[in-house]
């Protein structure tokens, strides 16, 4: 039994050499960053740079999920970044609650009369919700004092939302552009809802201070950044292998068939809606987990993160990287998101034209737009398509 498991694993890797190449590349990258990071003493890479790279790995993971749902199953979801954001909110609630609790317990410990648990709770509520003019802990923060329960929320909230939304949409056989619009509507509704002050998630203030991990106050940010970087790399590696396995077997065959001609798949006796629902929900959950790793590195989450445009960018990354080849999504997400922070963060020098000054903070989106159009028109297989030439040559 064990031997056959091993044989199966070896066969899976042998039939999917790109998985091995990917894992090798990821490992080299992790080693290089670790050696150069501030946290390990060399300080060539600043802590904020390590955080950016860790966050980029999380973005790569959502992109891989997006490739499975779109590139393989043909569902152009323009809402997967909403699941990513929900994962961030779910973990952010614990981070913020537990940290505020720590601070308040510490400050009240000087008092002559020890505070009652109710007093502590009220003080936490006032501290967190003062900005939106409230001093009560909303109902949805009921689990926020427990890391385990809140981690469960990271999976359950986006998972159930995807399950219910997908069930309704797929059951009515909404497909193509109509489905994309529906997912955008869901994302827009969610982000507008979160912008309200009375929804219990601090309205447009969002959740902040997430880079401070309760219980690890003694750890410097440079060390924390490295640990989160490693965790993100591990998540990407595991997620990548999981999805590569998912799309490589007969299941992958069926979902690609659904993408190419779903009516025909029905006449073969497959319940197409169930397949779509499984893929949609599973990728939503993975997106949420990626979000839960991303936001402690970003330090802050607010409703703008869930804006519909974010989910559209996700599709652009996958298209630029090349659909239907998981490493394409990784390349697309990494290249475009890093280029984006370079251009918009003032990294790129302005171009002086005499009569006009090209300021990249403003012009980056135009450049991205042209890049997207160029890839769509001239390289429909995306950057990842270049590997096809390499493979054919060798």
């Amino acid at each position: 039994m064990a031997r056959s498991m091993n044989a199966r694993r070896t066969r899976f890797l042998a039939e999917n050499p790109s998985v091995l190449w990917f894992l090798a590349g990821l490992s080299c990258f992790v080693i290089a960053v670790t050696v150069l990071a501030e946290g390990s003493g060399v300080s060539i890479l600043s802590t904020s740079m390590v955080k950016v790279l860790g966050m980029t790995l999380c973005l790569c993971l959502v992109a891989v999920a997006m490739d499975v749902v779109w590139g393989y199953c043909g569902i152009l979801s323009l809402g997967h970044f909403a699941f990513f954001g929900l994962g961030g909110y779910a973990i952010g609630m614990w981070l913020m609650y537990a940290r505020t609790q720590g601070i308040i317990v510490e400050s009240l410990s000087q008092a002559l009369i020890p505070p009652t648990p109710t007093e502590i709770k009220d003080a936490i509520a006032t501290q967190i919700f003062g900005v939106v003019g409230s001093n009560e802990l909303p109902l949805i923060w009921g689990f926020a004092d427990s890391l385990t329960l809140q981690l469960l929320m990271v999976v359950l909230v986006p998972g159930l939302l995807a399950l219910v939304f997908g069930w309704l949409a797929f059951r009515s056989r909404v497909t193509g552009v109509y489905l994309s619009i529906l997912t955008q509507a869901m994302t827009l509704a969610l982000s507008l809802y979160l912008f309200q002050n009375d929804t219990g998630l601090r309205g447009n203030n969002g959740l902040s201070g997430l880079q401070n991990i309760p219980g690890l106050e003694a750890w410097p940010q440079s060390t924390l950044a490295l640990w989160f970087f490693w965790a993100s790399a591990l998540a990407l590696g595991v997620g990548y292998v999981l999805f590569a396995w998912l799309v490589s077997g007969k299941f992958g065959s069926v979902i690609r068939a659904v993408r190419d001609n779903e009516a025909r798949v029905r006449f073969l006796g497959y319940h197409v809606e169930s397949y779509k629902l499984v893929v949609f929900t599973l990728t939503a959950v993975v997106s949420a987990l990626a979000g839960a790793l991303y936001y402690p590195q970003a330090g802050i989450i607010n409703p703008a993160e869930i804006a519909p445009i974010a989910s559209i960018y996700l599709a652009v990354w996958v298209a630029i990287g090349g659909r239907g080849r998981l490493y394409g999504a990784v390349i697309g997400a990494a290249v475009v998101s890093l280029a984006s922070s370079w251009f918009t963060g003032g990294g790129a020098p302005d171009i002086e034209l005499g009569f006009y000054r090209i300021n990249w903070t403003d012009w980056w989106l135009v450049l991205l737009g042209f890049g997207f159009v160029a890839v769509t028109l001239f390289f429909p297989r995306g950057i990842g398509g270049l590997f096809d030439y390499l493979v054919r040559k060798s």
Binding site: K250, S253, V254, R264, F267, L268
Partner: protein
């Protein structure tokens, strides 16, 4: 010999145009049946109704010993009770290999999680080989289905039908785009399949129908015009008028 499929009094209207008009057909098991008729007679629509693609306005479609109605079922449920279909325009999954196309059609559990943990057994591999040999694609298993010739795609789709191992095969114009030799081979496959199952073949080509050597149903304007042996129906004056006379 009770009927496997019993279609009775079925009518379908598309935007006021009555494509199927009080149609009744009964298919036994095993049986080989040819359905002929001029273009637009409603032959393909008949298959659409049986497979759940089109819902009739009225009438009954009953299946099997227990005479369950197919009308409330989804396309995939109908396929799972044992009805397989080959489309008029060959529809195979072009991006995937011939082998994967056949593997998907093989009669196995179809629930997502079963499929996720499915591993191709030796029996399945052998069955795929066997079907590939029968349809003349044994050397093409790793080939991309989209690279096959038109006739080969037709065969691949027939192979997928055989792999499904259905009780009733609905085959829409299988010989279109085939050479005479390929046509002959196709009749052999269909006749062999019909020894143990019900097979309904729509075909235009009279030579092909003659070689099938079976009961023939002539459709015209959505209903049955005549039924019987090929010689019987070709002597029917109405049939000569509407179909053969042109």
């Amino acid at each position: 010999m009770t009927a496997l499929l019993e279609v009775s009094g079925v009518s379908v209207t598309f935007d006021g145009f009555r494509a199927i008009n009080n149609l009744s057909i009964s298919i036994a098991e095993p049986e080989l049946r040819a359905v002929i008729g001029p273009n637009g007679a409603g032959k393909t629509t008949f298959m659409d109704i049986v497979t759940g693609k089109t819902r009739p306005d009225k009438g009954k479609v009953l299946w099997g010993e227990r005479s369950v109605s197919l009308l409330g079922m989804s396309e995939s449920e109908i396929a799972r009770v044992g009805i397989g279909r080959k489309f008029q325009k060959p529809t195979v999954f072009e991006e995937q290999s011939v082998g994967d196309n056949l593997a998907m059609a093989l009669r196995n559990r179809r629930e997502p999680f079963r499929v996720l943990f499915y591993r191709r057994s030796d029996a399945d591999t052998a069955r795929i080989r066997e079907i590939a040999e029968e349809i003349g694609l044994a050397d093409d298993l790793p080939r991309r289905a989209g690279d096959l010739s038109h006739g080969q795609k037709q065969w691949l789709e027939i192979g997928m039908l055989l792999a499904q191992d259905p009780r009733l095969l609905l085959v829409d114009e299988p010989a279109a785009g085939m050479t005479p030799a390929e046509r002959e081979h196709t009749t052999d496959i269909l006749k062999r399949a019909a020894r143990t199952r019900a097979v309904v073949v729509i075909e235009h080509d009279m030579e092909f129908v003659r070689r099938l050597d079976c009961r023939v149903t002539v459709l015209h304007e959505g209903s049955v015009l005549a039924e019987g042996s090929l010689d019987h129906v070709t002597q029917n004056q109405q049939v000569i008028d509407v179909y053969l006379g042109r």
